[in-house]
Assembly symmetry: C2
Homo-oligomer: 164 residues x 2
Amino acid sequence: MFAVFGIRAGETASSPPDGNASPIYGVVLPADYRNWQVVSVAHEAGSLNDLRVILGNDVAMKAFRDHTLPFPDGSIIARIAWKYEASARNDAIFGRQQSFVAGDPTNVQISVKDSKRYAASGGWGYGQFENGKANPGRPLMQTCFACHTKLPAADDFVFTTYSP
Amino acid sequence: MFAVFGIRAGETASSPPDGNASPIYGVVLPADYRNWQVVSVAHEAGSLNDLRVILGNDVAMKAFRDHTLPFPDGSIIARIAWKYEASARNDAIFGRQQSFVAGDPTNVQISVKDSKRYAASGGWGYGQFENGKANPGRPLMQTCFACHTKLPAADDFVFTTYSP
C-alpha cells in the first residue's frame, strides 16, 4: 500500500504545468543537466547499441568523488545516450577501422535521490526523456528499479562509479 | 624558420616552474579541466581500445554549440580516455554481454587555440598528460598536428562536433 500511495503522490506533487514528468515517479528533466560534470562513460552494445555519458549535479558529484554511499537526498544523476556509429571519416584518417562516435541522441535518463518520497524504490525516482519529453510508458518506468535493485545493496542501486 | 621560432618561444613562455608543459607547444594541464562540460563521447577500438569523453572550456563550449569555426582564441578542448573494459557485473544483471565501461585512465590530451602563438600548427597547441604529468616525448607531440591536419580545413583541425 505504501508503494502505491507514494507513487501517486509523486505524480501529483511534481508534475509541471505541461505534464512533462515521468509516470510513477513524477521526475522531470532538470533544466541544466547537459552542463553537469562527468561521472563516467560507457558503451552498451546489443540492442541498445549506444555510447553514453553519466553526469551528476553538484550534490551527486561530491558524493561520487567522496565515495559517499548511500547518496544524499538531492543527488541527481543524468545518463545521456547517443547511437553508436562508426566514423568513416576518422577511420580514413587513422588508416584503420577503429573509431566509433556519438550519432543521434536516443534518450536521457534521470535518477533522483529522495529517500522519503521514493522509499518504495530504494530512495530513487526515475524518468526517461526523448527530445526533452518524458516517456509516458508506465511499464518502461517499472523496469528501472526492477533492474537497479539487482545491484549489491552497498552500491545504493547505482551502476556507475566515478572515473578520475 | 617561423615554426621553429614559434615552438621554442612557446616552450619558454609558458612552462610552469615544475616544467610540466608539453614539448614543442608548452601546453599545460588546465587545473579545472575535469569539471568542464561535455562536447561528446567516443570509442576508439584497435590498439587504443579506449572510451573517451571530449570536454571544453567555456569559450570552446560556446563555439561548439554556436557552430563557430574557426574556434576563437582561448578555446581549450580536453580529451580524457579510459581503458575500454567489459563489465562482468553489468552483463550478469542484463543477462547478456553488452556492457563496456571505463577502466583505468590512459591519458588526457589538451588542445589550446591561440592563432598567433600556434600559427605554425593551424592555431592549435597540443599536450598529452599521464597521471597529471606532461608526456615528454617530442616525437609524440609531432604526431598531433600531423594527424589533425588531415581533417577538412573547414573543421578547424578538430575531430569532434557537439552532441546535443
